[in-house]
Amino acid sequence: MAKLVALSDGVADLVHDGDVVALEGFTHLIPFAAGHEIIRQGRRDLTLVRMTPDVIYDQLIGAGCARRLIFSWGGNPGVGSLHRFRDAVQNSWPGPLELEEHSHAGMANRYVAGASGLPFAVLRGYTGTDLPRHTANIRTITCPFTAETLTAVPALRPDVTVVHAQRADRAGNVQMWGITGVQKEAVLAARRSLVTVEEIVDELDPVPGQVVLPGWAVTAVAEAPGGSHPSYAQGYSVRDNAFYVGWDAISRDRDAFRDWIERHVLKVEVQA
């Protein structure tokens, strides 16, 4: 049964310095509020995992929380590059950032293997690209029936996965819908999980396209209304596209970035 917690307590309990942390969300339902809490609590040396590290990872990287990034596409969706991510890779600011780089298909299957309790996954992928040159985590495997050569990637098992969802009930059953990406797999692959939700309700009315995570498969649930802004929560909010466009200018400049984090993350009053 998931515990219902305050976001600050959830992050304090479940996210530790040095952890492998996945904050997932595929454009939709990105757990910005939880990411900001991680910044506020000053976590360091995190290995951040995510298929599409976008603005929230740009913020975590720029704020100095990350030592390493495992990912498949690091950009500002529809806008361009992530300048804090770039600055870390190109200039080691605010510190060096190790990369382990995959394709989406590879990352998705790594979560699937983690969720399935398997040590690896098999796919048709990466063949002929330069990606396998740069990580030992992309290998080949031979089909025991056809002798065909395929690609293998190891399971991802984050110490903690953080996702945002529309609703949970008081037993911690979590309900999300719309584009649900790889969130179920990311939660099930992790040793611990923290889910922020728009609201906690008495009953989860069924919704078409819903994914329900039973409360006994989730570690903790925290209410965080609007917790995916500037991303969105289908049925609750729309994507703040202007924010993503505006982030380009803020994030290009180290001082503008620091100022933004100071004003919009560090100095924010948080409910206990």
Partner: protein, 250 residues
């Protein structure tokens, strides 16, 4: 013109794996003009999305709202892309070589200390490997059209004929490259990208000057038709509704 030329490449009734930006604009233009039954697949898991405005991201709500089915990200790659169910993959590029190999990862320096760090692979390596064919949209200049890509993110024809088969890639590879100057297609024998069409007002010399290798030119070089009034009207309608929602998708 680039967007219109790209849209024209999409046949009605086919399934098209769409990235955001120019590919999404072109695919939606195709759906709004000659290909109303084009099936748009977004890697966010939206199968058969029918947006009436251009999404800014591949995960905008409009895509899920209008899709025939919304599936998980693992499913879109494993059940839909990997088995070769998608006819056309639509890719952009930061660098492209004469065999249609694509780089969207790093430029300059080496991988660990690059001059420019780009977003990376995303879905592209497997789109390039598994779709029936690939359409590439890229601006043509000496930065993008290079002798050798700094990093092979997605394989075109590798080092030439037979390489896709040797690698076990089951899709057909790049069928056409649409640029702001014209259209290139692989030579059926050498697999080398060959200029086969120029946009109105563009010369062969301009195309050659914008290419970082000795550009092959087809014997029968044609000139594309300019955008029709209908295409331009639909294009404006798409981008206008988008601007209300934030910003153009290109």
């Amino acid at each position: 013109m680039m967007t219109v030329a790209a849209a024209r490449q999409l046949r009605d009734g086919t399934a098209c794996f769409v990235g955001i930006g120019l590919p999404s604009t072109a695919a939606n233009l195709a759906r709004a003009t000659h290909a109303p039954n084009l099936v748009l697949i977004y890697e966010s898991g939206c199968l058969g999305a029918k947006p009436d405005r251009l999404p800014l991201s591949i995960g905008d709500g409009i895509l899920a709202d209008t899709a025939d089915a919304v599936v998980s990200v693992p499913e879109v790659f494993n059940y839909w892309l990997q088995p070769g169910r998608i006819d056309v993959g639509f890719l952009g590029a930061a660098q492209l070589d004469r065999y249609g190999n694509i780089n969207t990862t790093v430029i300059g320096g080496d991988y660990d200390d690059p001059s420019v760090r780009l977003p990376g692979a995303g879905g592209a390596p497997e789109i390039a490997a598994s779709c029936g064919e690939v359409v590439v949209i890229v601006r043509q200049n000496l930065r993008t059209f290079v002798e050798r890509v700094d990093f092979v993110t997605s394989v075109g024809y590798g080092a030439g004929p037979g390489d896709r088969e040797r690698l076990g890639l089951r899709g057909g590879g790049p069928r056409v490259v649409i640029t702001d100057l014209g259209v290139l297609e692989p030579d059926p024998v050498s697999c080398e990208l060959t200029l086969t069409r120029l946009h109105p007002g563009v010369t062969t010399d301009q195309a050659r000057a914008a290419t970082g290798w000795d550009l092959a030119v087809a014997e029968r070089l044609t000139t594309g038709d300019p955008p029709t009034r209908y295409e331009l009207t639909r294009m404006r309608a798409l981008t206008a509704t988008t601007r209300e929602n934030g910003r153009g998708g290109t």
